[in-house]
Symmetry: C2
Subunit: 157 residues, 2 copies
């Protein structure tokens, strides 16, 4: 894990929420993820392969997830349904994709998203893998971005 | 999704449980995944990139997960803790890796595992992506393997 990896995820998240959700976010203090409770209600997971392996996990509060879905699909939603799952998957995909652009030297490829919902679900990482967690707040709710990247090849910066 | 992709995941799962967990499994009938409820208590997710993108999701009943952890780590465990999360991540990793060997033409790479636990967690896939689900039963409990693979390049068979 390098400190230089944090900014690309901050930029990516703010860019995606500004443009796709029209909800400006302010970021809190990044910290190492402790425990495995997700920060919020619904979680989107994208894996990375390339010169680093890992994942980005976005966790979104229900009100913000519903607002994001409404903005992205142009229709009102009132609870977690397939539209919300798709929207959270697509947000994870866009954030992972934007961060990848800012981390060009790692030659990352992203997987399809999986989305996890359900009360008190827990997300665990392999032993020895440190995930960073960056909290964000917006007018319509909170979200967080966690990422773990383990370099597996020679990175030419 | 090709029918030819199903056997590699069946073989991989049986091989890994035979050798690592010493728990022979018998497989049920593969079917298209409906809804997004996981089959069992604890879920390991691995992403694929390569000439196909997708994921493999293993879902394990608590008794089988505890037994697998005991066999893999050589110590008794009584509930979901970090050891169980690691063991389920490692099982997902081994099954994804074995299946990858049987699917050489797709030139797959696997991501780090993430593990989800918690009551009634739901796993969702992107719209339009069909996941196959293969159920397995063993003396010590049940598990299932779901996978989704979307070809993105030219596959030379």
């Amino acid at each position: 894990m390098r400190a230089a990896h944090i900014n690309p995820f901050i930029m990516a998240t703010i860019e995606v929420f500004d443009t796709m959700v029209q909800c400006p976010l302010t970021r809190g203090k990044p910290s190492m993820k402790k425990g495995n409770l997700p920060e919020h209600d619904i979680t989107g997971i994208i894996g990375y392969t390339g010169l680093a392996e890992g994942c980005v996990v976005i966790s979104i509060s229900l009100p913000l997830a519903l607002h994001a879905t409404s903005m992205m699909l142009g229709k009102e939603v009132n609870g977690i349904d397939h539209d919300v799952i798709d929207a959270v998957g697509e947000l994870a995909n866009m954030i992972a994709g934007q961060a990848k652009k800012h981390l060009e030297a790692l030659k990352l490829r992203v997987t399809l998203p999986t989305v996890v919902s359900g009360r008190s679900h827990h997300i665990g990482y392999p032993e020895g893998v440190t995930a960073m967690c960056i909290p964000f707040d917006g007018e319509l709710g909170s979200m967080s971005v966690e990422f773990a990247l383990v370099e597996v090849g020679t990175v030419v910066v």
